[in-house]
Symmetry: C2
Subunit: 289 residues, 2 copies
Amino acid sequence: MISTTNINNKCSIGIDIGGTNMRAILFKDNKILFDYNLATPQNDKESFLIMFKALIEPLLEKANQERLEVKGIGVGIAGIYNFNQDKIIFSPNIKIIEGLSLKEEIKKLFNLNKIILDNDTNCFLLAESKLGAVRDYNNVLGITIGTGIGGSWLLNKKIYQGIHGTAMELGHIIADSNDLITLEQSFQKLTKNNPKLLSEKAKYGDKLAESLFKELGKILGIALANIINLIDPQIIVIGGGVIESSNLFMSEVEKYKTQFTISPLAKKTKIIKAKLKNSGAIGAALLVD
Amino acid sequence: MISTTNINNKCSIGIDIGGTNMRAILFKDNKILFDYNLATPQNDKESFLIMFKALIEPLLEKANQERLEVKGIGVGIAGIYNFNQDKIIFSPNIKIIEGLSLKEEIKKLFNLNKIILDNDTNCFLLAESKLGAVRDYNNVLGITIGTGIGGSWLLNKKIYQGIHGTAMELGHIIADSNDLITLEQSFQKLTKNNPKLLSEKAKYGDKLAESLFKELGKILGIALANIINLIDPQIIVIGGGVIESSNLFMSEVEKYKTQFTISPLAKKTKIIKAKLKNSGAIGAALLVD
């Protein structure tokens, strides 16, 4: 007798909505079958939803071609999502999606029941913990540095969400007590919202650019020490676009992290780089798995 | 038939070792039967252990008189205790106990098997969550402000210890990014290590003292916003000696906590005052319950 239950024709769609790009993947058996990217619209909600539809349609077509059933869509958002009210309540780098009931909107667009939204850094950490750099750990602090700075915490192998679903908003902690600006604001001020350009300058020996990256490393190192002093994790994993330039600031991060972590035991907490490409989208796909 | 198992003649000893005083209680059925206090020695380990013995002996005598069996001794320490190595590894306000294997020392002094040590703020929060102000909550941030500033976090009704047992060292997070000094150092600098004197001055209308308390409220409020942005708790409970002067700084704490908490949902996180007297010693006694 041949069992039909082993024939798996199910796949998921994972979407990562970042401040600059939106990325969509068709995901099956822990592998990306197909991916598609579009720039994140910046003008209004309506054009955002049109582009969002345009992002997903090629994946649904592909699934159809391959005779795969789409189980659902997982979406990672650079912002704070209110799970209870289905509302994006804060997204400093994609202002137009604030107030959007994205789950409801996706239901209107596509005939799919399983739609799960989460913070993009939560998706990143979920992917890295299941398939990437921190598979063997169960208490992991995750950080993404891209357009903004995001945080997530894996505790007992699950993402810790907090009481209001707004835990580990580490880009928004006050990093400069003088100007009262956040870690993310400090980062955006130092890099003039263009970390890529700054890193190119630094790589070609621009002294100012180099010193700005060192300053960034100091701010980030102190922030990490503060977070270690609070949650005392096993390991820290860093991802996001800026991680490609991490050699410009990681030694400063290490120095200040070690100096300002108070516990001699926790001073040695390792910081490692993320392994996966597309971890945000992969983690989003894993949400519906 | 009379069941003898209901005759409970067991009690516990709870000790709270603070930067200024050591407090010991004999604890039975959630009530303090007897208590005894001594000043915390500041000269050396030997005199600390002599005084520690002198602190406990009257309680053992009392238990003997009352024909009670002492189950064990719980000790709360203002500092970082390494559970695995039985060593106090950091105690900025009681320097002489650093390096002490206190569990081993207590075993040498008294013929008792159950000896449990923990951080004093963990004991404070344990007591407040079992018998005090936060009985109905399971995700609570606890803060004590006395000689130093301590933190603790109750998560799923248990104290969250972190991977190295050094979580929620919130007095030691960097609060001033200019001077790179910690929350506790800022507090001790503002109050010149004498918060009691400063609060008396403020109560008699000393403008400088009043403004220093407002500054303290601002620093504490920003620190709380940062911690809410990270762990997103249900409620915050504040205790410790300085809480008697809380009307001098709580409105500032509220103001800055609300301003710098990023999530609109978490902005409303309540801060309440502790209820119990002797919560540190009660929590220490509860450790052996």
